[in-house]
Symmetry: C2
Subunit: 346 residues, 2 copies
DNA sequence: CATCATTATTAACACGTGTTAATAAGTACC
DNA sequence: GGTACTTATTAACACGTGTTAATAATGATG
């Protein structure tokens, strides 16, 4: 309690130099060269006293918070069931630690988006932010575009030219559905990962439609459902699909999490995967290879997305303005046990 | 870019009062009463200008960072596969937002614990911190105890009287194993969630041993394995168990995540759950009810743990020092399809 | 030796707020 | 109308650092 805070002044006194010199040594400011023996003295004094610069004062003086924000745009209850969050966080922490930055996490209450975006930045708690899972209908995005605030979207919003890092959702979904078609399936159901305001849901639906179209298959709206990111919604949407008895032999579920729920629904109805219904997921969450049958899915490079987003954000904070505004990462189809050629049994 | 920052001075000028008055109005300082019409004037001016107080300056002046830290003590690769992180984060964000605090996330590199703990606080980036999944062998804990830094452990470390919030690991594990015993199982394998330096692993092992003892069953070390938090490790540990052909009819796996791997290993060997082997997990991750067979497990109130930890931390930051240092939350056995009475078939 | 160029160091101000101690204005009382 | 007291407001300092512009010390050059 009585621990006296040690300031740069204390270090300066002990080393017998001025506070400014200490600052130059600590920050290795290249514009001013300091005699090696002075550097030595200062570093020794800092070590002896256990000097740790006060980050707050530093932020105030340098007008740099040395922190970036991860801002989520979902209800907290979805945050709690987001299977990617750990990977994203892991990737961000990696980069952030290496760059000596801090990571602040926040979520925006629906409808208060702009308020939160702008106050986070303007209050200078952070230098820039990464927006996770942006929505089409977020009015805050347009407002952000007009400022010059460093922002990176994880996931893209069409018609919005903020910097973004995303996977090729359309192509990936098309690949997934093509795979089912190549196995002979003709009636293929589709459950999207989330509601349509989320751009990833929309794009994956597009990929589904494109694959059907190029194969000359009709698009049947009654085979399409929108889930809500979690397994529970996947379960009920699949039940709703099965209740209609539409005779589909395969399903593309645009989220592994949702797919697990869908899988449970199928098994509960007494049908088997892949014998009766082939299932393709999306995301390749760590667990996908450990369920039975192991889930065929699209690999989502979550960690890379996080890392690239962070690197991009750091460039923006440094003042760079790269030409390319949308960075798109490749995905990969992982074939496992949940898909099988139509009509072939074990 | 040219957007001029608006300071409290600007507000003061517009309202025709001093900066101090603005500060009193904004902070609703009760020690100084201000005439209602002045308050009105100031608030109006702030609204017109869109004034947002600079959090950094505020933190510096008030010597309160208005932020708490979530510090993880695992390798980043474990962070990435921690199924609880989303729930924890969701719970923390809930509380933190309500208290107008910010949440900073960080992880400590093994071996550098104390360095990071202390610099985070002393640099005043945060006012206090929550340590996730502490280890027995963390020398930083002892060092922390000697300072008066507000810290809450999520998960407890015996012999360390830092404030902590945890579940009753021993009792919960005992309940889980008792359940298996009550179903007639006598040879029960055990796979711990993580390596023994993690206290939760140790405690769950104790619970396992106690249940055996009170039922008069012998403790067989060859039936015990330590996993490494993820499904992959669960898979290999279960394979290793099965390779020995020790004839166990049930297994207690102290983590659902690990249990999923173990389940896959069992099924891959051609055995069935629960027909051949009954399985009890631990954690009740959201997915546990959606796999087949649905996992019998111990419900871990992750969200509550996070919330309670945060509340406790806030009290510590406020200067309180509650008598009770260890808060223990109850768990609950959730019986699902993965356990069955010995010898009874479907 | 005087002059200039270069290097090393520092005094002084800036960053935007919280807070104390002092002042000014207003009110009640005899 | 002066005094004591309350209320409203502010000037001035504190927080701990980054950074510029000026100064002092050193070395090189004619």
């Amino acid at each position: 309690m009585a621990e006296k805070r040690i300031t740069s002044q204390d270090v300066a006194n002990l080393a017998g130099v001025s506070r400014t010199t200490v600052s130059f040594v600590v920050n290795k400011n290249p514009r001013f060269s300091i005699r090696p023996e002075t550097v030595q003295k200062v570093q020794e004094a800092a070590r002896v006293l256990g000097y740790i610069p006060n980050a707050t004062a530093r932020a105030l003086a340098s007008r740099r918070a040395k922190a970036v924000g991860l801002v989520m745009t979902r209800d907290p209850r979805y945050i709690a069931s987001d299977p990617f969050l750990p990977q994203i966080l892991g990737g961000l922490l990696d980069v952030v630690k290496q760059a000596q930055l801090n990571l602040l996490t926040d979520w925006v209450e629906p409808g208060q988006q702009y308020q939160t975006y702008s106050s986070l930045i303007r209050a200078k708690h952070i230098d820039g932010m990464i927006l996770m899972t942006p929505r089409y209908d977020d009015p805050g995005l347009k407002a952000l575009r007009e400022t010059d605030i460093p922002v990176v979207l994880m996931g893209m919003v069409p018609g919005c030219d903020l910097y973004s890092v995303d996977v090729e959702n359309v192509a990936a979904a098309r690949t997934a559905v093509r795979h089912l078609i190549s196995l002979g399936h003709q009636r293929i159901a589709c459950i999207l990962n989330g509601p349509s305001p989320y751009s990833s849901a929309c794009q994956r639906l597009q990929g589904y439609q494109q694959a059907l179209e190029e194969a000359g298959l009709a698009y049947d709206e009654t085979l399409v459902r929108f889930a809500d990111f979690d397994a529970t919604s996947g379960y009920s949407q699949m039940r709703s699909l099965l209740a209609g008895r539409p005779g589909f032999t395969a399903a593309f579920v645009a989220s592994d999490n949702v797919a697990l729920g869908a899988l449970a629904a199928i098994l509960d109805t007494g049908l088997k995967v892949p014998d009766d219904i082939s299932l393709v997921g999306f995301d390749d969450i760590p667990m996908s290879s450990y369920i039975h049958p192991a889930l065929t899915t699209i690999h989502m490079p979550a960690r890379e997305i996080a890392q690239q987003s962070c690197h991009l954000l750091m460039r923006l904070i440094a003042g760079e303005r790269p030409e390319e505004r949308a960075l798109t990462l490749p995905t990969e189809l992982i074939t496992r046990g949940s898909t099988r050629e139509l009509g072939r049994s074990k």
